[in-house]
């Protein structure tokens, strides 16, 4: 295969992924048809199959792309400063990044497909959750040396993520609303004091 052909091949594959990603995010796996993806990507249906084998192959490629590129949480650099301010900044960033239409759709998708595509949540945990837990745990260990910082980091991240899932994905805003600030404030108070 010449360099030019390979380049064209990659371009086509990326063109397909770019077209398929919003379709899977918006409609989920079962409700997204290969016809629809072909149309959205601007290629013929057969081209999808030559590049990705079948629908599952295309979906798995999409999941890897999402976990590795699109939905990286927070930053990877270590946290610095006073605990109260550091935790507040981290909470704000995390809430802002997760409370985004595409990210919420991503979470819905990996939960919905956690049985039939078990690799998808694993990619999510490895590339998105684990790094966030790691930098928070390492920071806490420098400031709360006698406590179980790994468990506390889980509680911190878990309470925030659950808040978003409940309010946004489960439509909790309409049933059991609560101000985000109260969750953040009390969570920080519990941990710092």
């Amino acid at each position: 295969m010449s360099k030019t052909q390979k380049q064209q091949h990659l371009d086509k594959a990326e063109q397909i992924l770019a077209g398929a990603l919003p379709e899977f995010l918006q409609h989920g796996y079962a409700r997204t048809s290969m016809d629809r993806i072909a149309s959205a990507a601007g290629v013929s249906k057969q081209t999808l199959y030559t590049h990705f084998g079948d629908k599952d192959g295309l979906f798995n490629a999409i999941l890897k792309q999402m976990a590795r590129e699109k939905f990286q949480l927070v930053c990877s650099k270590p946290l610095e400063g006073e605990p109260e301010q550091v935790l507040r900044d981290l909470a704000q960033r995390l809430l802002k990044e997760v409370n985004d239409p595409d990210h919420l759709a991503f979470v819905r998708l990996i939960v919905a497909e956690s049985v039939n595509h078990p690799e998808s949540p694993k990619l999510f945990l490895i590339h998105v959750v684990q790094p966030a837990l790691k930098i928070l745990t390492e920071y806490l260990e420098q400031h709360q040396k006698l406590k179980d910082c790994e468990a506390i980091a889980r509680i911190f991240v878990g309470a925030l993520i659950h808040h978003i899932i409940t309010q946004e994905i489960l439509h909790g805003k309409e049933i059991i609303p609560i101000e985000e600030e109260r969750i953040v404030d009390n969570l920080i108070k519990l941990i710092v004091h």
Copy 2:
């Protein structure tokens, strides 16, 4: 309609619901066919349509049944005793009840269908989550009068539910495992002290 006919009607409807429930739980909405439900319930496909109109009607009936009867969380009687023991008991009960194959499948289902069937998560919040939050909030208000007990209750329940979702539904056991006891112990310490 005579009493006998009505009784037969109800029996048939319940027979259908009983057959359809495990199918929807195990395979989700899109992957469950009306043929499969008819077979599982031991009735003809036409009978499904006579009683519930269409697939959506049957699914909504299933959701109501699950939220109202099958997945009631914890108990509704007020909590009593010392905070540390009360919180520990509540955590254990909540974890045990949520970490059940059917309950996990129920959570997966309402998240997966939260867009196309937005009533399903609302039923879940009203019948399952809200009562649990209520009794915990009322208990905390008797023992921690100066604190924002509603927010703390959300943090408590949220951290536990998120732990189960991450470990069980997202297969976190294999990627980022942690002992449940550490989550419970540290959560209680944060709140009580």
